[in-house]
């Protein structure tokens, strides 16, 4: 499937761009991360600490091990710091 992947904050900086279109058959966000981390050194650096990676699937916060389904958009980002 074709998925739009978005990055925010320092993960965006490490990857080097805010979004990209990828082809994937990943079953979970965590499996998608493994594929993305292999794309470049920047990607690897962005995902180096799995403990801090947060994820939204089609703009809904989602656990990294939840079924990915057929999303249009998957976003990865560090823990939020709003308010």
């Amino acid at each position: 499937m074709t998925v739009e992947v978005l990055y925010f904050a320092w993960m965006r900086e490490r990857v080097g761009h805010p979004r990209e279109t990828v082809q994937t058959d990943a079953a979970t966000p965590r499996a998608l991360i493994a594929e993305l981390a292999a794309l470049s050194e920047g990607h690897a650096a962005a995902f180096a600490d799995g403990a801090v990676v947060r994820c939204a699937v089609d703009q809904v916060l989602t656990d990294l091990d939840a079924p990915l389904g057929q999303p249009r958009e998957v976003a990865f980002f560090p823990p939020m710091t709003g308010g």
Binding site: Q59, M80, G83
Partner: protein, 144 residues
């Protein structure tokens, strides 16, 4: 019942005009860029366009149902905000003060660690560093 994300400053008094009519208790919280050591020039706030307002609205509705709020409002800014500038606000209205206080408190705990915003501190010398999430904020959320 308003959730809004914007770059421009907001004005608390303008936000409160007509807010919570008929309620007995109104609580507001305003977050401001605080200069701790004298080195900070501004915050720069990134958000997730598309997701942010929907997430704020969903959570406002959740809080309204849970705490019996008759009105609520969430305004959160993004972009560059200088020291002393307002970052965000929530307002809650209810029959009694306990509901209004708890509703505002709950919304803030959620915004701190579940709303898709990321803060970067811009120092006076131009250097920038991302604000790390605080464990205390995560703990605060677990109260609810």
């Amino acid at each position: 019942m308003v959730a809004r994300v914007q770059a421009l400053p907001f004005d608390l008094s303008a936000e409160m005009a007509g807010f919570g009519v008929g309620a007995g208790a109104v609580v507001t919280f305003t977050g401001v860029v605080r200069d701790d050591g004298g080195d900070l020039a501004a915050l720069e706030i990134e958000h997730y366009p598309g997701m942010t307002e929907a997430a704020l609205r969903d959570h406002g509705l959740t809080a309204a149902a849970r705490f019996g709020l008759s009105d609520w409002r969430i305004v959160h800014r993004f972009g560059r905000i200088p020291v002393g500038g307002p970052i965000m606000m929530v307002a809650t209205a209810a029959r009694h003060r306990r509901s209004a206080f708890d509703g505002a408190d709950f919304l803030m705990d959620w915004l701190k660690s579940r709303a898709p915003f990321w803060k970067r501190e811009i120092a006076r010398d131009g250097s920038a560093s991302w604000v790390a999430a605080r464990a205390a904020d995560e703990d605060a959320l677990s109260r609810w």
